[in-house]
C-alpha cells in the first residue's frame, strides 16, 4: 500500500534482544547442535523462551532476518523455526492448519538432520 505524503514509516523493532543474539552466538560457537545432542538443543530452546516471547509466525520472519544478519547458523535458525511451527500447531484450533504446521515443523528439523525429539517438552 502506498504511504500518504508525510507519513512516517516505522520499521518493526527487532524481536530479539542483543542478549539473546549473544546467547545464540555462544551456542553456535560452543555447542555442537547435531542430532546426537538433543539435551543441548532442548537447553537452547528453554533458554530462548524468555527472549523471543513467543512470536507469532508472522513476526518470525523478523526474528529470522535478525538471526541471519547476526550470522547465526542455519541449524539454529531451523530449530527455532521448527519450535515456532510446533507451538503454532499446538495453539491453533483449526485441525487442518495445525496438521500443516506439524509438517512444517518436521520439515525444518529434517533440513538440518535434527530429530523431532528435541521438540518434546523443550
Amino acid at each position: 500500500m502506498a504511504l500518504a505524503p508525510g507519513a512516517v514509516c516505522v520499521s518493526a523493532a527487532p524481536l530479539l534482544t542483543e542478549e539473546a543474539i549473544d546467547l545464540l552466538k555462544f551456542f553456535d560457537a560452543h555447542v555442537n547442535l547435531d542430532k546426537e545432542n538433543i539435551p543441548q538443543i532442548q537447553s537452547l530452546l528453554r533458554l530462548m523462551q524468555p527472549y523471543w516471547s513467543a512470536p507469532g509466525l508472522e513476526e518470525l520472519q523478523g526474528v529470522i532476518d535478525q538471526l541471519k544478519r547476526a550470522g547465526i547458523s542455519a541449524t539454529t535458525q531451523n530449530i527455532l523455526i521448527a519450535a515456532a511451527y510446533k507451538r503454532a500447531a499446538q495453539e491453533t484450533v483449526n485441525q487442518e492448519r495445525s496438521s500443516l504446521y506439524e509438517t512444517y515443523s518436521l520439515l525444518a528439523l529434517d533440513r538440518v538432520g535434527i530429530s523431532r525429539k528435541v521438540l518434546v517438552r523443550p
Partner: protein
C-alpha cells in the same frame, strides 16, 4: 459379478440342464445350439452373447442401452440368484422379440415389469469421471493396470482409461480381466480361482485388498499375449534392477515401491529411483518418500509423522492402507518446493 455368466445362463436355458462354468465348453455348447437351431433370432442372440463374452462385439452393439449393458447393469445391482432370474427373463425376451435391436434394447424394457424399477437408473448417463475416482491407475513392470477396490463394475472405465488389465478386490469378489489380445493364465484353482474366459478369472471370496497386490506382483507371469508379442511398455526405470521382493509401480507419474516383506528395503528402493516406498509388515505400515518430497495429509489419529516425508502406523500393517495412499498419492505426496510455497516462513 454373479457366479454364473450370461453365457452359462443362456446355455442352461437352451439345453434345459445345468452346464459347467467353463468358457470353452460353454462356447461349444452354444455353437452346437446355433448349428441345430432353425430359429434365426435365437441364433442371433446366441451369437451376440458369444461375441459379447469373447470381446468381439462391435462398438455400436455394446454401448449404453444394449443387451450387454443391461446384463452388466443387472449383474452389478443384484445378487447371484436374482441376477440369474433377470438374465433369463431378458434373454428369453430378446429371443422372443426379433424386432428388438440387441444393440439398443433398453426402450423395450418398459414391457417387462421386473425391469421397471431400474429403468431410470439405467437411462442415466454414466459419470465416468466420478466412477474413475474409485480406480487406481498404475504402471507395473511395463503393464498398465487399473485396480478397483469398490464393488462396482469399473472394467470398461478402466480400459477406457488405458488399462491393459483391471484387477478388482471388494467384499463381493476378486477378479482379473485383461484387454483383448492378452490372456490370463495360471491362477491357482485350489485357492478358489476359476477361469470364466481366456482373459477373465474370478474368485468368489471376500477380497482383503492383499489379493490385488498379489495379482499385481504376478502380472508378468500370468498375462500372456495371444499373438506372442510383447504388449508391455518400456519402463523408465529398469524393473529388473529392483530387488524381487519389491513391487514397483508407477502411479500418477511417481515411482512407487511396495515392500510386502518383513525386510527393510527402503534405502535400496530409493537408491534405485523410487519416489516413495510403502511397506507393510507385522510391525505396521509405513510410507516414506524421497528427500525431495513431503508427505502430508494422513490422519494423525492413526498415523504418526516421524519426518516430513515419513509416516508410520504402529500396529500390524494392513495392505489396505496401500489402497488409501495410492488412491490419494497425488494429494499426499508433494514436492518440497511446492509445499513450502505457502508457508509463513522457511529459510
Amino acid at each position: 459379478m454373479s457366479t454364473k455368466t450370461p453365457k452359462q445362463i443362456l446355455a442352461e436355458m437352451l439345453t434345459g440342464k445345468k452346464q459347467p462354468n467353463h468358457a470353452q465348453e460353454l462356447h461349444e455348447i452354444l455353437i452346437s445350439q446355433i448349428k441345430s437351431s432353425g430359429a434365426r433370432r435365437k441364433r442371433a442372440v446366441i451369437r451376440y452373447i458369444l461375441d459379447a463374452s469373447e470381446g468381439r462385439l462391435a462398438q455400436n452393439k455394446k454401448c449404453g442401452g444394449s443387451l450387454k449393458f443391461v446384463l452388466w447393469f443387472m449383474n452389478d445391482h443384484l445378487g447371484d440368484e436374482v441376477f440369474e432370474y433377470y438374465a433369463r427373463i431378458l434373454l428369453r425376451a430378446a429371443i422372443d422379440h426379433p424386432d428388438w435391436d440387441l444393440g439398443y434394447i433398453l426402450p423395450h424394457l418398459e414391457d417387462l415389469l421386473e425391469f421397471r424399477p431400474f429403468l431410470n437408473e439405467m437411462r442415466r448417463p454414466i459419470d465416468k469421471d466420478e466412477k474413475a475416482k474409485y480406480l487406481i491407475l498404475l504402471d507395473i513392470a511395463g503393464w498398465k493396470a487399473a485396480v478397483n477396490f469398490s464393488p462396482n463394475n469399473l472394467n470398461k472405465i478402466g480400459f477406457d482409461a488405458g488399462a491393459q488389465v483391471v484387477i478388482s478386490s471388494s467384499h463381493k469378489e476378486v477378479m482379473i480381466l485383461s484387454e483383448r489380445g492378452l490372456e490370463v493364465q495360471g491362477l491357482d484353482a485350489s485357492k478358489g480361482w476359476s477361469q470364466r474366459y481366456p482373459n477373465f478369472w474370478y474368485c468368489q471370496k471376500r477380497g482383503d485388498g492383499e489379493d490385488a497386490w498379489r495379482l499385481i506382483n504376478q502380472l508378468d507371469e500370468i498375462l500372456v499375449p495371444v499373438d506372442g508379442q510383447s504388449h508391455k511398455a518400456d519402463m523408465p526405470i529398469t524393473d529388473a534392477d529392483f530387488p524381487k521382493e519389491l513391487v514397483i509401480l508407477q502411479v500418477q507419474d511417481r515411482v512407487v515401491a511396495l515392500n510386502l516383506t518383513q525386510k527393510n528395503l527402503t534405502r535400496q528402493a530409493f537408491r534405485l529411483g523410487a519416489d516413495v516406498v510403502l511397506a507393510s509388515s507385522n510391525k505396521g505400515t509405513m510410507i516414506n518418500a524421497g528427500k525431495d518430497w513431503v508427505v502430508h495429509g494422513l490422519n494423525r489419529d492413526t498415523w504418526e509423522q516421524v519426518h516430513a516425508n515419513l509416516w508410520v502406523k504402529r500396529f500390524r500393517g494392513s495392505r489396505n492402507d496401500f489402497r488409501e495412499i495410492l488412491s490419494r498419492l497425488d494429494e499426499l505426496l508433494i514436492p518440497v518446493n511446492r509445499f513450502i510455497q505457502g508457508a509463513p516462513i522457511f529459510i
